[in-house]
Amino acid sequence: MSAYYLGVDIGSVGGKAVIIDDNREIIASSVLPSGTNYSTTAAALKEEVLNSAGLKTADIKASGSTGTGGRNATADSYHGVIVCDARGVNLIFPSARTIVDIGGQGSQLIDIDENGQVINFNISEICATGSARLLQLLARILQLNIEDLGPLSLKSTRPSSFSTSCTVFLETEVITRIAQGDKPEDILAGIHRSIADKVSALARGVNIRPEVAVIGGGALDIGLVRSIEDKLGTKVLVPPNPRIIAALGAALIARNHPDR
């Protein structure tokens, strides 16, 4: 019987859990809102992912946690999200050398080697600019899922331009634009450009080299992915389930160091 490993990532917006087996195959994954009580969320995620894998707690040989609230999860070890992103991406795209992670409140750019080791990275630490936060707001206003924003934005012929890059001010400006009659697709396309600009500004000090993988909740929005491609001047890879990559990385680290 195979051994199983659990990875849990409690981000600022979403919590994710992944179970892998000894062959590093993903057996199950689940995603829940992070909420305000991170340890409760972590427990709920664990229960949900175990159920979906048809496993029991005793079947988990080792577990790892990561993310803003990851220290509140009961796990054998905690790892920084940068390292987890790097391990997770390396498994899915061994050719990836640059990772763009667009999270709910922050983004990071990571330069990795062929073994998934981190060479360099840059985090948008001080402010939410360049995160997927505005996409969540737009999805709410337009009553769409974040996945549906991209296809809509690709219809834009005249992307809106905005006078600010501060996420707080942009929230107001988006609402003003809606009131002024800007088309939803144009507003979206404009916001995609604004986020892509800020994400690419993280490239200062980090070498961007192919292949580039885009992960995190922002990668669910194909319009944003296209804007990042335009901005970076290169095609990018997007994994099938881009939100769970850090949780996957935490599971992989647990598998490699089950004793920790």
């Binding site: 409140q105 939410a128 936060r133 600010t164 890059s165 501060c166 707080v168 001010f169 009131a179």
Partner: protein, 295 residues
């Protein structure tokens, strides 16, 4: 400065300031004395707001529009004041208005709904300034977000904060991160007054950092909507380490300055003998604007 004579003594002048959140208008007489002012929300329709504000201010002053010799518009929405004779930046107007109320002022700090400004003033003239309009931290918006997060009124928040003797240090710079920090501080059991006092200190720290780049010299005048808040005023004085002077109505320094500048402009026109023709033209336009632009 041209003097007051029998050609100018009966004239009145107006300033109108369309800010990101609040709009203000004032009317002054030939000696620069303020006769009336009105403050209201800006809303989305700037032109409509500008017309209504001017009407209300004239009504309060008991003057017909035809008695207003010159009008200057200022603020973020100043282009949307069709009846203005001239547009002037808010920095110039603000400096003029503050100096009119406090002739000795050396440093003026203004925190608006979406920006913060620090002005150095010497002998009533603007000599240097710094502004932040790029980031919501250190502006009135930061307070609005905090109030919304906590479900409190802005005024109420100020009074509650005054009960604090041990302000919490808010570590987040970004308004969005601070919002989350406020929630986690509350759930960690920190007292509300301490969290609120921490919020005011966070804003004051950010703005004072801007002010220190220009060297803070007393007297310091503190204006803008945020200066009405007792908690904010206390935090500002604590962080600055010196007392601040606050006008009776801290929102109107911009429009007052615009009105006084309107007087100066009109006096120049009088001196050059160009005043009369200009006045007739403007008033015709203004009347049409009031009639047709109001919806």
């Amino acid at each position: 400065m041209p003097g007051i004579d029998n050609q100018t003594s009966h004239l009145y002048f107006a300033g109108i300031d369309i800010g990101s959140t609040m709009s203000k208008a004032a009317v002054v007489d030939a000696e620069g004395r303020m006769l009336a002012y009105v403050v209201g929300q800006t809303g989305a329709q700037h032109r409509l707001r500008a017309n209504k504000l001017m009407e209300d201010t004239l009504h309060k002053a008991g003057l017909p529009l035809s008695d207003i010799a010159y009008i200057i518009s200022t603020g973020y929405g100043r282009v949307n004041v069709p009846f203005a004779d001239k547009q002037v930046t808010e920095l110039t107007c603000h400096a003029k208005g503050v100096a009119a109320l406090f002739p000795d002022v050396k440093t003026a700090i203004d925190i608006g709904g979406q920006d913060a400004k620090v002005l150095k003033i010497k002998n009533g003239r603007l000599v240097d300034f710094l502004t932040n309009d790029k980031c919501a931290a250190g502006t009135g918006r930061f307070l609005e977000v905090a109030a919304e997060t906590l479900g409190l009124e802005l005024n109420e928040m100020g009074h509650i904060s005054l009960q604090s003797d041990k302000p919490v240090k808010i570590n987040s710079l970004c308004t969005i991160f601070a919002q989350q920090e406020i929630i986690s501080r509350l759930s960690a059991g920190e007292a509300l007054p301490d969290i609120l006092a921490g919020v005011y200190i966070a804003i004051a720290t950010r703005v004072v950092k801007l002010a220190r780049q220009l060297k803070v010299e007393v007297p310091v005048v503190f204006t803008g909507g945020v200066a009405k808040n007792a908690g904010m005023v206390k935090a500002m004085q604590d962080v600055l380490g010196v007392p601040v002077l606050i006008p009776d109505e801290p929102l109107i320094t911009g429009c007052l300055g615009a009105a006084i500048l309107a007087r100066d402009e009109a006096f120049k026109l009088v001196q050059r003998g160009e005043y009369q023709a200009h006045r007739d033209k403007k008033l015709t336009e203004a009347r049409i604007d009031f009639g047709e632009k109001s919806r």
